[in-house]
Amino acid sequence: MSPTESTPAVSSATAAPGGAAAARVEELPMVKALNAGLRQALADDPKVLLMGEDIGPLGGVFRVTEGLQAEFGRDRVVDTPLAESGIIGTAIGLALRGYRPVCEIQFDGFIYPGFDQITSQLAKLTNRGGGAFSMPVVIRVPYGGHIGAVEHHQESPEAYFAHTPGLRVVSPSTPNDAYWMIQEAIASNDPVMFFEPKSRYWPKGPVDFAGTAAPLHASRVVRTGTDVTVLAHGAMVAVLMQAAEIAAGEGVSVEVIDLRSLSPVDYGPILESVTKTGRLVVAQEASGFVSVGSEIAATVAERAFYSLTAPVLRVSGFDTPFPPAKLETKFLPDADRVMEAIDRVMAY
């Protein structure tokens, strides 16, 4: 499957969904789907604000916020000074005042200057306040590799945040999920880390503007199979779909699960699938040590031990810094690396 070869979009993403245009499906890249989702959220609730570096006239370095400042004004689409702690810290203050800030972190590797405000303040404030107030802040993070970029621009730091109580962590893999999940994240009264797979920013896919949103924290079976379960989130889901296709050619029936939510993890579909297949391979771009994939492997081993035919395997980035871009294809798991793991679990 190649989403880039879909039919062109019927109109530009600036045509907001809703109104009289019912049952409308458009082929859009994820950046346009996110743009439409953010536009809808801004239109629906005057308390929603976008904040970040270069998100105004430029529309963000990935153009996710293109046109939104012109439409909603500089008080609601805020070009901030270049300081991540400042962006998150002031978003916390705005949330205390009743606003719903959506912060854009320009690249994954630039989130660390804001790490203290996210983990020590944003994640803990509702708890510290004894529930007197909530922290409806969304932090959008373009993450992951496959874009050939320089250091700090291709990382997958999800595990730091999934490890932090008080945060919710989600990651869409398709334009349709991106459109709906960003609106659900903004509607949540808890802080949501929203990891956008930037290698999936440009392939087009159908966005059903008249559809209904799946629950934000639901995992989803995106291909059914009977021999082995593979799961991932974000950009790795497309890699799993390629691997499942290859495996099918070799007579192995692969069930693919799109995790969608990294915290909390929706184990229902995962355990149901593993009960059926007896085998699980967990894939991620992030380094494997102390990763979300490790946590899922441990939990499945605890809860589905007697259903397992083979050990749960992880396919991850190596435990190195993200390498220079000319080596990224060797670092990032591809369909062949996933197949290698599928072959190993099928040997049991």
Partner: protein, 384 residues
């Protein structure tokens, strides 16, 4: 060049410190204080008595807290002794609709704004992480203590950005216009978050007044290690006007804060006040100032005590023994009440640790809470 033995950074050519009351309690005029003098004219004798009463009560509360800690009732105490004038004067300068973002030593500000300061005991005893509800109007918009140095300066800035969007800045209506008063210490000025707060507040011209209590010590490190220039100059490079005051002079603290809050509320952007004061006590009950403190410097600052100074001023104005005796009794009663209520505090129910981690239901925490309840109940069953 030999290192300075002074606590202070290199002095500015002529630092125009605003002072109305000398350490001897004499009312003086000076050029730097002139523009703030009209703010003193608003004050009634009852206001002045309220200043004194709050300073005396919070000093007694602070002593009781330290004693309760030494008696094992709290893991930690954070003394405010010596900083009462900086806190009480500035707190009285704030209006009802203003919001306060304290650090963690602003017991007097909390008292003035109306919180039950037993909440501070509960926090330091380990019963809570917060204790008072800043969204409850009876708590005077006094936000929670923040233990990571300087982090809250950004929350204060964001809050003020919200006020701008709500249209409560620069309307000209004194009942509507609002500002955010944010407290931090000399150590905090080294934190990146405080610099970022200056950047963001200057960029958005937010209604913030940043109130620095320079108590000369960041635990054991003197202020000259934090800065080679007087700290009140720190904000000017960010485009934020600033002033240095005698922080042990409650009248200077009141007048200068009132003026700069007015400026902030009227849309003139952020303001910065450095109040020179001194931490007479330890950083916390875990600290040992005898390891690093110069006794001569210490004694000099003790001689500048803010409460003694104000008492001299009030007595010279005609206040008699009866009033001071009355305040002493009130302070003792206040402390006794805190002690009585502290001794009956019970640990919070176990389940509460799960209850407000998220605002919305969370399956993992629901499961863990249930597990712990059953686990605990299993011991009771064994005993039964």
């Amino acid at each position: 060049m030999a290192p300075s033995t002074s606590l202070d950074p290199m002095p500015a050519e002529s630092t125009p410190t605003v002072q109305f009351l000398t350490p001897e309690g004499e009312l003086v005029t000076s050029a730097p204080a002139e523009e703030y003098a009209p703010y003193l004219e608003r004050l009634t004798d009852d206001d002045l008595r309220a200043f004194y009463r709050h300073m005396a009560v919070v000093r007694r509360f602070d002593l009781e807290g330290a004693n309760l800690q030494r008696q094992g009732e709290m893991a930690l105490w954070v003394p405010s002794h010596g900083q009462e004038a900086a806190q009480v004067g500035s707190a009285f300068a704030a209006r009802t609709q203003d919001h306060i973002f304290p650090s963690y030593r602003e017991h007097a500000v909390g008292l003035v704004r109306g919180i039950d300061v037993l909440s501070i005991v509960e926090l330091l005893r380990g019963n809570t992480h917060g204790g008072w509800d800043p969204t409850d109007p009876t708590n005077g918009n006094f936000h929670g203590y923040c233990l990571v140095i300087g982090s809250h300066s950004l929350h204060a800035t964001g809050y003020a950005m919200g006020m701008q969007r709500d249209g409560v800045v620069g309307t000209g209506d004194p009942e509507v216009d609002a500002a955010v008063l944010c407290y931090f210490g000399d150590g905090a000025t080294s934190q990146g978050d405080v610099s970022e707060a200056f950047v963001f507040s200057a960029s958005s011209q937010t209604p913030n007044v940043f109130f620095l209590q320079n108590n000369h010590w960041a635990i054991s490190v003197p202020v000259r290690v934090q800065s080679r220039t007087p700290l009140y100059l720190r904000s000017r490079g960010f485009g934020i006007p600033s002033v240095q005051i005698d922080g042990n002079d409650v009248l200077a603290s009141y007048a200068v804060t009132a003026k700069h809050l007015d400026d902030a509320r009227s849309g003139k952007g952020p303001q910065f006040i450095e109040a020179l004061t001194y931490r007479v006590g330890a950083h916390t009950s875990s600290d040992d100032p005898t390891k690093y403190r110069d006794e001569d410097v210490h004694n000099l600052w003790v001689s500048r005590d803010p409460i003694t100074r104000f008492e001299k001023y009030l007595r010279a104005k005609g206040e008699g023994d009866a009033y001071f005796d009355e305040v002493r009794v009130e302070a003792d009663d206040f402390a006794a009440d805190i002690r009585r209520r502290t001794l009956v505090l019970e640990a919070p129910p176990i389940g509460t640790m799960f209850d407000h981690v998220y605002s919305e239901p969370h399956p993992v925490l629901a499961e863990q809470k249930l597990w712990l309840e059953r686990y605990e109940a299993s011991f009771e069953e064994e005993q039964a």
